[in-house]
């Protein structure tokens, strides 16, 4: 039985359809991320699960029970907001205890549960403070403690990390995952940050314009994007117009002007069934730059010129021209980064390429 299941959910606001017919099953205990740019419907979906919005059509079930008509305060869900939403007039301990007041929990029991929740988020001594006296990271931990102390059936996180600064965000990411694994609560996480999604999720649901683009494990979504949108949204990808010249059992043959002939494994191109135009996807991280003219050990090589360099310390992003193609590559820097104008040789491997059906502009 899935912890949360959405069946043909539609959400319309007037003439605007925020979520198109969407079905989804979230396994008990899993960490599922709704990933997409702003306006893709991910937060709307989360708010429908929470009960803050009613779906226009379709059915929402939590633990197998239909909850469309169950008001939010009876759904037993933990909800964490981007802006923390702590009650400013209550102490940290009273904030965490808030949900326990509406459950049959004795005073002593409640105190123990609050202490345990504060321990879990590693802020055991802050119970007497007011939210305003805490840093953003601390406030978000308290918000998390407040949501999990009620032992919710599902924990819903609405961009909980995006208000924090970069370093803190990475710490909280690890922390959040640790806590989720410790208590094993089914978690639905909403974010527009692909790094967070890849790092934390058991399953990623990539959304765009109110539709699900792809559902899969992080590696699957990353390596075998189901659409151009997914390829571009998760990391930097090079998308090249190509021609599939043959499909065999194990691989497909793909030709791109200026490239050597490619033989892409079938599992990297599950949607290609026959010869014809395709889109070739190569991740920026999978293109390796070598000095021009260096020997080709194994794999394929394409000549290119560095047009621009975005130096990032341990790595660099290169903007390249290879024949008619504009491309990007992200490489670790071993010694010095390549310079603008330098001629390089791009190395790639067949299994690092993926192919999508060529779609007319929609």
């Amino acid at each position: 039985m899935s912890a949360v299941s959405l069946t043909d959910i539609v959400k319309r606001f007037g003439d605007f359809t925020a979520v198109h017919k969407m079905s989804l099953d979230i396994a008990e205990g899993s960490f599922v991320t709704l990933l997409g740019p702003s306006g893709c419907g991910k937060t709307t979906t989360l708010r429908m699960i929470a009960g803050l919005l009613d779906p226009s059509e379709g059915e929402i079930a939590i633990k197998g029970k239909r909850v469309n008509d169950v008001p939010i305060h009876k759904r037993n869900l933990g909800l964490v907001f981007q802006n923390y939403a702590l009650f400013p007039h209550k102490t940290v301990a009273d904030n965490v205890a808030f949900g326990l007041n509406y459950r049959n929990v004795g005073k002593d029991d409640a105190r123990k549960k609050v202490a345990a929740a504060l321990d879990l988020v590693q802020l055991p001594d802050l119970g007497g403070r007011y939210p305003k006296e805490l840093s953003g990271g601390q406030q978000q931990r308290i918000a998390l403690a407040r949501a999990i102390v009620i032992e919710p059936d599902v924990l819903l996180l609405d961009e909980p990390l995006s208000a924090l600064d970069a370093n803190l965000r990475e710490d909280m990411r690890v922390e959040l995952k640790r806590i989720q694994q410790r208590i094993g609560v089914t978690t639905v996480f909403v974010t527009h940050d692909q790094t967070e999604a890849l790092a934390m999720s058991d399953q990623i649901i990539v959304m765009s314009k109110g539709r699900v683009e792809q559902v899969g494990a992080p590696e699957e979504v990353y390596n075998t994007p189901a659409s151009e949108f997914v390829a571009q949204f998760l990391g930097a990808s090079n998308l090249l117009s190509a021609q599939c010249t043959g499909v065999s059992d194990g691989e497909i043959s793909v030709e791109v002007s200026g490239f050597p002939k490619l033989s892409i494994p079938r599992e990297r191109a599950p949607k290609i069934t026959s010869a014809g135009p395709v889109r070739l996807v190569i991740r920026a991280e999978k293109l390796h730059l070598r000095p021009a003219g260096s020997s080709v050990d194994n794999g394929l090589s394409v000549d290119a010129t560095v047009e621009n360099v975005d130096y990032q310390g341990q790595s660099a992003r290169y903007f390249l021209r290879a024949g008619e193609h504009q491309m990007q590559a992200v490489n670790m820097i071993e010694d010095h980064p390549f310079a603008t104008g330098e001629k390089v040789s791009l190395r790639l491997r067949n299994r690092d390429c993926a192919a999508l059906p060529a779609v007319s502009e929609s």
Binding site: G51, H73, K74, H89
Partner: protein, 288 residues
């Protein structure tokens, strides 16, 4: 001049016009009133400058003044509570309405475009013997003869509520509008019904606005003078009417000064008490 000195002077330069106006129009006249209150009005009609306590003793010991003062405070209190009860739901509705918030606020301010006196007098057309309500009741057949509904304490309070309600609504609105709507959602997600969430979260967070609106309504109501003149009967005089009576009718400036200072002191003490107990230091801490 050094930059520091110039920066230190800047706030004072910006404050100067306001401080001058307050000094000339408020502080100086107040000083005159304080001095007057210790003068004496002789039977002959001329004021005797000096330092006499007669006016103060009269103001503080005369039962007539005391009863009117207490009644004035009672009317102000009833008005304030009525404004709070009527104003809170309206303010909540405006704060939570999407899109047309601005229109609703403009509608709220609309009465200010009409003179307060005209607005007060409009009640005569509604409640008067040949007013709208009496005409309607006679037309429906509930009564045969018009009823005298005007010129009592209730109509005074009605007029004051009519006058002061927008102030209350605005103050509550401002504090409600500043409350993150996620807080109510968070409370519901934790198991509170909407009403429980309101009592636990929204109401306490809006108390500063409610208290500010309450103080404003109370002080304005307690100092009112026109409403009882227009809508009150002969026995519904409020304290400001006594001051008017003393100064304009009897030309007894010293007594009028003492009486007006007495009202000022009573209201000042109430403001201090408000500040001490409802100063919201605790809440303000969380709101900052």
């Amino acid at each position: 001049m050094s930059i520091e000195a110039r920066e230190a002077r800047q706030p004072w330069i910006l404050l100067a016009p306001a401080l001058t106006a307050i000094g000339l129009l408020l502080i100086v006249p107040l000083m005159f009133i304080i001095v007057y209150s210790f003068w004496l009005r002789s039977a002959a009609g001329a004021d005797t400058p000096g330092f006499f306590f007669d006016n103060w003793i009269a103001a503080l010991t005369d039962r007539f003044y005391r009863d009117i003062l207490l009644n004035t405070l009672k009317i102000a209190a009833v008005t304030t509570v009525a404004c709070a009860v009527l104003g809170y739901p309206a303010a909540y509705f405006i704060a939570r309405s999407q899109g047309n918030k601005l229109i609703l606020l403009v509608l709220l301010m609309l009465p200010f475009w009409i003179s307060y006196i005209i607005r007060t007098m409009s009640w005569i057309n509604i409640l008067g013997v040949s007013g709208a309500l009496n005409s309607a009741l006679i037309w429906v057949g509930i009564i045969n003869e018009p009823i005298q509904m005007l010129y009592n304490e209730t109509t005074v309070i009605l007029g004051l509520v009519h006058f002061l309600l927008p102030f209350m609504v605005l103050n509550i609105f401002v504090s409600l509008d500043g409350i993150d709507t996620n807080l109510e959602d968070a409370a519901s997600s934790l198991g509170a019904t909407r009403w429980q969430g309101f009592l636990q979260v929204t109401l306490p967070l809006s108390l500063p606005g409610l208290a500010a609106g309450g103080l404003l309504c109370f002080v304005l109501a307690a100092g009112t003078y026109i409403t009882p003149v227009i809508l009150g009967g002969p026995r519904d005089a409020m304290f400001a009417n006594l001051v008017y009576e003393a100064i304009i009718r009897q030309l007894n400036w010293p007594l009028g000064s003492a009486l007006s200072l007495l009202l000022l002191i009573v209201l000042g003490v109430l403001v201090l008490i408000y500040n001490r107990y409802l100063g919201m230091a605790q809440l303000a801490k969380g709101l900052g």
